[in-house]
């Protein structure tokens, strides 16, 4: 009896150790990542079989796009209603999981958007939110449990996932004619990998906006600058009046520095033009290129000139980018201009709910540096990608890509649609309307450089910009360091 009990306990103990060992052992060999990934593929093959089958079917179908078009023509605005009506019966109770970074008011708005689809089709959307999207998504993809739809923060991640074969091509089931009507060619190119469409760009940010307080400008006798020369003259005038022209704030936790890379992207695009910009982003020209260097010197002038920037280099690196949008609207203002993407409107209105659009706060487009490239705009956008192929996911993806879904959110505010079929009348205030209009009519538009570069390059650039803010005269050292990083990152 005694011995039996004892052996029982021993066995229990051994089992326990075995369990823990099994649970943790594979992790002890992180260097074996590729092997592990291969095993995943093998082990999950059974479960993902239908998906992969569908994908291959889709790929073959894509070559004969014309034939697939009628079956799921559905895509958007005009055709949206009939499709969803047709699929109503099939989708009831089917779940679509969506992984994204939205929260708070963004999530409430998105819930309204997918609520319409749920009502039409009977499908159910499971929102899975995390602000650490890249890490969570990578882990879940590696672990063989990706969400149905992911909303990525930048196209670089989408390209990476597409090249690894984790994404479903959208042209396999979407009506590409409708997509081409709704989206400018640049967006379709950005969302494509090896000539197949993998991504829909959803919520855009126009990054040409310099925010200012019109009343403070009137009181100081200042006028909105059109060119870089005028802009610097205005800044000098403000300094002469004992005022601080710029609020620049780059702090954002682990992502600190991105507001500065946004600055640089906009300067390079306006200074060097789209050709050089594209070469710079893909690293076909080095960081030490003459025009890139000149662009850094332009920004270095702003950062380095005494009295230009609120708080100096320390202030730039230590101030949260959201708080950096406030100094223009205090009484008296502590700074006069803040360059930040169109999403800054949300920060300003949240902090100062009584400010009137246009009269209380407004933006002017980034001043022209080289007249040849006047009206160039950098942009940002969330990227919708599809990772599982089911009728419900297809239906929801098609719905999101269409104009009605984007119009719903645009009306709620805080949303600039990428779909150009969304009417300008949908925007609830004159500023978001102007921002959207500038985006659709921009002569040249490019995705913010950092978001298109490889993630490692983007992060290296963020860090270098934080250092550059402290030592704006060190242009050569900064560029050499970035070029060294680039050499090891781009292959």
């Amino acid at each position: 009896m005694f011995i039996q009990k004892r052996t029982g306990l021993i066995i229990a103990g051994l089992l326990l150790v075995a369990l823990v060992a099994v649970a943790c052992a594979p992790a002890a060999a992180p260097t074996l990542a590729p092997t592990a990934a291969a095993t995943t593929a093998a082990t999950t093959a059974a479960t993902t079989a239908p998906t992969t089958a569908a994908t291959t079917a889709a790929t073959t179908a894509a070559t004969t796009a014309a034939t697939t078009a009628p079956t799921t023509s559905a895509t958007s605005a005009s055709a949206g209603a009939p499709t969803t009506a047709a699929t109503t019966a099939n989708l009831s109770g089917q779940h679509v999981s969506v992984l994204g970074v939205w929260g708070s008011s963004e999530l409430t708005a998105f819930q309204k958007v997918y609520g319409v689809w749920e009502k039409q089709t009977g499908g159910v959307v499971d929102w899975q939110g995390t602000r650490d999207l890249t890490a969570v998504l990578t882990t879940r993809v590696q672990g063989g449990n990706p969400p149905d739809i992911a909303i990525l923060p930048n196209p670089a991640l989408m390209q990476q996932l597409a090249s690894q074969g984790h994404l479903i091509a959208l042209d396999s089931f979407m009506n590409m004619n409708q997509v081409k009507t709704d989206y400018a060619p640049a967006w379709i190119n950005l969302g494509s990998y090896q000539n197949k469409l993998y991504a829909i760009f959803y919520r855009a940010a126009n990054k040409e906006t310099v925010w200012y307080n019109p009343q403070a400008f009137t009181a100081g006798g200042y006028t909105v600058p059109k060119t870089w020369t005028e802009w610097m003259a205005l800044a000098n005038k403000m300094v002469a009046d004992g005022k601080t022209p710029f609020s620049i704030a780059a702090e954002n936790g682990a992502a600190s520095g991105w507001p500065l890379t946004d600055w640089m992207s906009e300067i390079v695009l306006n200074n060097c033009g789209p050709t050089v910009y594209d070469q710079w982003v893909t690293h076909t020209i080095p960081w030490t290129d003459a025009c890139i260097k000149q662009s850094f010197q332009l920004f270095g002038t702003i950062l380095g000139t005494k009295g230009y920037v609120l708080g100096g280099g320390q202030g730039v690196d230590a101030t949260n980018f959201v708080n950096g949008t406030y100094p223009m609207y205090t009484n008296p203002p502590t700074a006069y201009m803040d360059y930040l993407g169109s999403f800054a409107q949300g920060f300003i209105t949240a902090q100062y709910p009584k400010l009137q659009a246009v009269t209380g706060y407004n933006f002017f487009p980034f001043p022209t540096i080289n007249s040849q490239y006047a009206g160039s705009v950098t942009i940002g956008a969330d990227v919708l990608v599809m990772m599982h192929d089911t009728p419900a996911v297809r239906s929801f993806m098609t719905y999101l890509a269409g104009a009605p879904a984007q119009e719903t959110w645009a009306k709620l505010g805080g949303f600039i649609a990428v779909n150009r079929s969304v009417p300008l009348s949908a925007y609830p205030d004159p500023i978001s309307k102007a921002v959207a209009q500038d985006l659709y009519t921009a002569k040249v538009s490019r995705f913010g450089a950092g978001d298109v570069m490889p993630a490692a390059m983007q992060q290296a650039w963020w860090k270098q910009m934080l250092l550059f803010a402290q030592n704006p005269s060190q242009v050569d050292a900064t560029l050499n360091s970035l070029e060294n990083s680039a050499k090891s990152i781009y292959k």
Binding site: G13, V20, E106, R131, Y326
Partner: protein, 314 residues
Amino acid sequence: MSDSTTHPQMKVRPEARPAQPAAREEEHPRLDAARLVHVLLQAPLNIIVVAVSLLWLLPTAGLLVSSFRPAQAISQSGWWTALVPPYHFVLDNYIQVLTANGMGQGFINSLIITIPGTILPILIGSFAAYGFAWMNFPGRDWIFIVVVGLLVVPIQMTLIPILQLYNTLHLTGTFPGVWLAHTAYGLPLAVYLLRNFFQSLPKDLFESARLDGATERQIFFRIVIPLSVPALASLTIFQFLWVWNDLLVALIYLGGDPRVAPMTVTVSNLVNSYGSNYQVLTAAAFISMLLPLVVFFSLQQYFARGLLAGSIKG
């Protein structure tokens, strides 16, 4: 701390008094002087202890003050400025958290995850620890070293392989999957702590129990467990806090699905993608702190007790 050290001394002196009643008046000033010296000697220690506690409490105090301030004020001035008039405290942040979509479901899910996630590792861990401490079997020390070694495996490294395993076992997105994960992550520490504690129990206890004919099961439940309440209580608090506050494990294995997501996931959805609206996190922090505090205070009495009080009397 200082209370327990000064008490015995003060009790000893009155007992000595009846023996020398005449010396009473003379002794009195001496006693005061001794006490004064004692207090002075203790003073630096006390001051340091109080200062360190205040320093540690400062961020929490700031958080508490911030949680009652309006959003605009939080981003404009430091929390300490709210401590001087004119006062302007509001409940907006708390209302926003409590009325948020899915917060009630999140609370219930948190309980469903945390209770088994605390009980299982401690139960299994104490069985294993007893085996390691008081049973002889081949390779015992080596297996124990392996278990202790598992303490240094970072949790992040286990995520992908376990997720792959869960996918084949269909445990992804289920409560049992998270229970198993938390149990496995909690076990090495539980086994390590409890084994060391069990081993410090006097050998005589086990010998006399065995002489009296107690089985291993009886020894474990009748002797070891009752004697180990303080150790078990502290472990319970650690494990409870760890599981209750966990966001990563829930996000990976549960996928953030609102039907199974714990409160931490719901709370993190209150902040938008640019990190604004973060002021609600201050209120959320205090709301989610409530239950762990209840657990802590209800188990706290066991810490103070002498570990072996009364166990080998008679």
